[in-house]
Symmetry: C4
Subunit: 302 residues, 4 copies
Amino acid sequence: MAEQDDLKPWQWSEATWRAIVNKVRGGKTLLPERWKDGARCAVALSFDSDHETGELRHGGKSFGKMSQGEYGARSGIKRILRLLDRHAVPASFFQPAVSALLHPQEVKSVVAAGHELAIHSWIHEFNSTLGYEAERDLNFRAADVLEKISGKRAVGMRTASWDFSPHTLRIIREMGLLYDSSLMADDDPYELLEDGKPTGVVELPVEWIRDDAIYFNMDRMASLRPYTAPDAVFDIFRRELEVAHAEGGLYVLTMHPHVIGHRSRIWILEEIVKMAKALPGTWIATHADIAAYCAAMAGLKR
Amino acid sequence: MAEQDDLKPWQWSEATWRAIVNKVRGGKTLLPERWKDGARCAVALSFDSDHETGELRHGGKSFGKMSQGEYGARSGIKRILRLLDRHAVPASFFQPAVSALLHPQEVKSVVAAGHELAIHSWIHEFNSTLGYEAERDLNFRAADVLEKISGKRAVGMRTASWDFSPHTLRIIREMGLLYDSSLMADDDPYELLEDGKPTGVVELPVEWIRDDAIYFNMDRMASLRPYTAPDAVFDIFRRELEVAHAEGGLYVLTMHPHVIGHRSRIWILEEIVKMAKALPGTWIATHADIAAYCAAMAGLKR
Amino acid sequence: MAEQDDLKPWQWSEATWRAIVNKVRGGKTLLPERWKDGARCAVALSFDSDHETGELRHGGKSFGKMSQGEYGARSGIKRILRLLDRHAVPASFFQPAVSALLHPQEVKSVVAAGHELAIHSWIHEFNSTLGYEAERDLNFRAADVLEKISGKRAVGMRTASWDFSPHTLRIIREMGLLYDSSLMADDDPYELLEDGKPTGVVELPVEWIRDDAIYFNMDRMASLRPYTAPDAVFDIFRRELEVAHAEGGLYVLTMHPHVIGHRSRIWILEEIVKMAKALPGTWIATHADIAAYCAAMAGLKR
Amino acid sequence: MAEQDDLKPWQWSEATWRAIVNKVRGGKTLLPERWKDGARCAVALSFDSDHETGELRHGGKSFGKMSQGEYGARSGIKRILRLLDRHAVPASFFQPAVSALLHPQEVKSVVAAGHELAIHSWIHEFNSTLGYEAERDLNFRAADVLEKISGKRAVGMRTASWDFSPHTLRIIREMGLLYDSSLMADDDPYELLEDGKPTGVVELPVEWIRDDAIYFNMDRMASLRPYTAPDAVFDIFRRELEVAHAEGGLYVLTMHPHVIGHRSRIWILEEIVKMAKALPGTWIATHADIAAYCAAMAGLKR
């Protein structure tokens, strides 16, 4: 893909843009005929427990921003775990290794409560700024850290900031992971293709639409403000869930303890959980369970 | 216009700023006395099927953003075509050539359903960064690609990002197009003037106000977030339609399969379609049919 | 003020920051005991008729942006003038000289309808980037242009983008103007001080809060989007008016033909006008009439 | 921490990122079993009286921005003081020294009304751009200025822009302050740790969520706009208060005279005050009184 860098995109040959598009692309759908035990719809709640790494990855220069992340570990995660326990629903927690090392008791209590722990980078680094070697090394080490603390090997990954590099899919395969949850080509699960060839890796697609942080983040320097009213965020999350249910599809919701965990926002999660439980035939499960079910139904081979 | 570059705008001579303003400007209105078959108002629904080109034009570096566009082709377009079919309304699809080459079956199904296919750049490049030769070459090649896949020569163009260069109008005329749909000087159709002279080219004006992407786009790096609630976006689209109907004017709505096609947003399109059908005397038609009607009523000469 | 540039603000001497603050500052209030004819509250509606100059001042490189401004002259201004006429209320129009030269018929119809025409820069240039000589020359020439077209000498000024330079007040005084309407230190009228001394110039204060453009502007490159719902903008304008009435104060509202003039927004102006007329004892007047009344009541000397 | 600068965060040793995180961190909770006189919840209203310093700290180049801040001193503060007096509730005012020197009568009237005056930098400078010596000197001088004008030594500090540097906590201790109110690791009060060791300093945590400026600020150059409707801001402040009350916690609200003091926003403060008074068992107090109570209950040692 040397041409990619020398020419402007409108000067590229067809081979060039086709190669880029084919590098990582959606393959066959993995939406099952019926969800587990005849359920009509699947709901996957996830929490990216970034905590202090959201600022550390930028160099850790602001103690204000560090304390914003610290809130996740100190206050947010507790409200979330109590809520999930009260409603008896499982969820998936994606945690950077450094965040896990800073909060090992949190990791243990998440796993002890029956939730899934999955890979989410080393220190919330941007994959696209690393080379293959560095990205591979950081992810393998992250998997080891999570296993050491939790006693269980993670089967899935979510890239930090959903920054999926040209090397990410190769590394996922080398790690033998069951699924990724960072891409957005569909609402429902699908198989990832690498250079046009099936990989056996399940994609459980995310979308910024179903992410608490984009509506609520505050970043003095980046001109980001929490301009959207909590009511409006709930309305969006609700609409996505209702149509997922009507279509018999998958609903993946991404949240962050230091974002959704606040007093004025935690009700959104509670209402979504209540709705999911009230909608007939909804299977609320971890990413790992949903990915395994889809892979089995489709006879996927890794 | 050498003076344009050497001096600050407040130092320009009157000849300079008059020449700039006159380069491309609105001429006589093409709003007909009565719309087709005595209709009171015309509604033109359009979809810019950019898909992966939204990211390819920036170099194709992010697979996350690529998958966001891929969603348009994989999920969004299907919901849209089903909806248009259910309500039996025609629409216009503006598609970059590279997007059409990546999704030829989509193009064929759009045309087979009776919708219009029209020109929308080569790879969603910014016209204002090209010279005359490059812009001309890309647009002619784009027209050829669309014709080869669809079997029909396009009669209209919408510039990518509505980035209308000093050369665009000249190229539109050289291509013999009936209409453009990229400028915003009116709500209703008008004739374009080039250097103060009538061109016979119909402008079907757009506006960011009636564009789904500006409210809903998410761009990590550009500090863009989907801050506006779907309800509020519907409210804006609805108000524009109601006044267009009250005035007996034209209503052009621009959407994108990877934006409006999402589960929490597709209802907006459905409600607008229902409203348009419920308002008495509304003619819902393709851009091509509306432009041809206006040109005929006004006796426009190209 | 040499120290101002050599040192960091926290290193400045008291004399330095006091001199900066005193350069242009609010003096005594000009809020009269009673408004004209015993009215309880004064309402000043204003329109900044920038049209194409919003883009020309940046070099006039985008025909899309030029057409956005052109909309003001072609469509927006007509809806506004009809509305003001229907409700028989006067308003003030601030127009850059280049905009007036491009649209002399508009200027004449504004004045013929009994509205005020006032100074609003040459080509919407930023004053703070000019020196004293250039700013002075552009403003005197702008006043001449407006007088030549309208037959009347303007008595007030609003700086473009409310960019009030260290020289603006001196120039206002040299021009012998009655009032400025660009600063924000109060809701109610006040006298401007220059270097701590009374100037006799009336300030009719504006605020971004009461400006349509900040909620509705769309600028691809500056990450500005019309994120706020029209309902919310009306709600803000309404609250400002209600409290102005309750306090017996002044209400200055700033709008733009190419912003408020759109089909989905013009209702906001209509509702505000209706409210203002319905609130007991409201005096709706031009900036010039209000400033003259305040100056007379306070016995202001220029 | 030399490694911090030479390496990328993902290359840091564990010792490096642990040292950064431990520099300033939350220690034991200072949430008392019961609030004063058996109250169920504590409410701390605060106003950052920045006025002109918001622009002075950037060099004082814009008189428009200067007048935006001037509004706080001229109009906003008066509405706020009247409102607090009408409802007989105390509050804390954090004021930069330069702002206090510009408005000594305001400072005196704030203190005379029984409110707390506390430290808020010299001229609203960013601490993280200063070295230890400069930050220390500015804060000691700021404390002296406030004492000289008000006759009372301040016992607490809020950093300007909540920009807490690596030196801030050390300086707070050298100043012998009771509390800081700039960090965000919890909703409820906690003890600050420095390099992992208890400091005896009380943190009364703030959050951007409970800050009027982030929703309402307007900055032409920084692409910041007041996009959020006042109703939505009230809804957020209300939700935070309701859950604080339900949890028996602390509610810290940060406002600015030039922001909340406007006609269309002051009602938000009034409604929050009414709610706080109506919720059973709410203790509305100054930051100083709340911090002293928490420190006493926990037997904190400085």
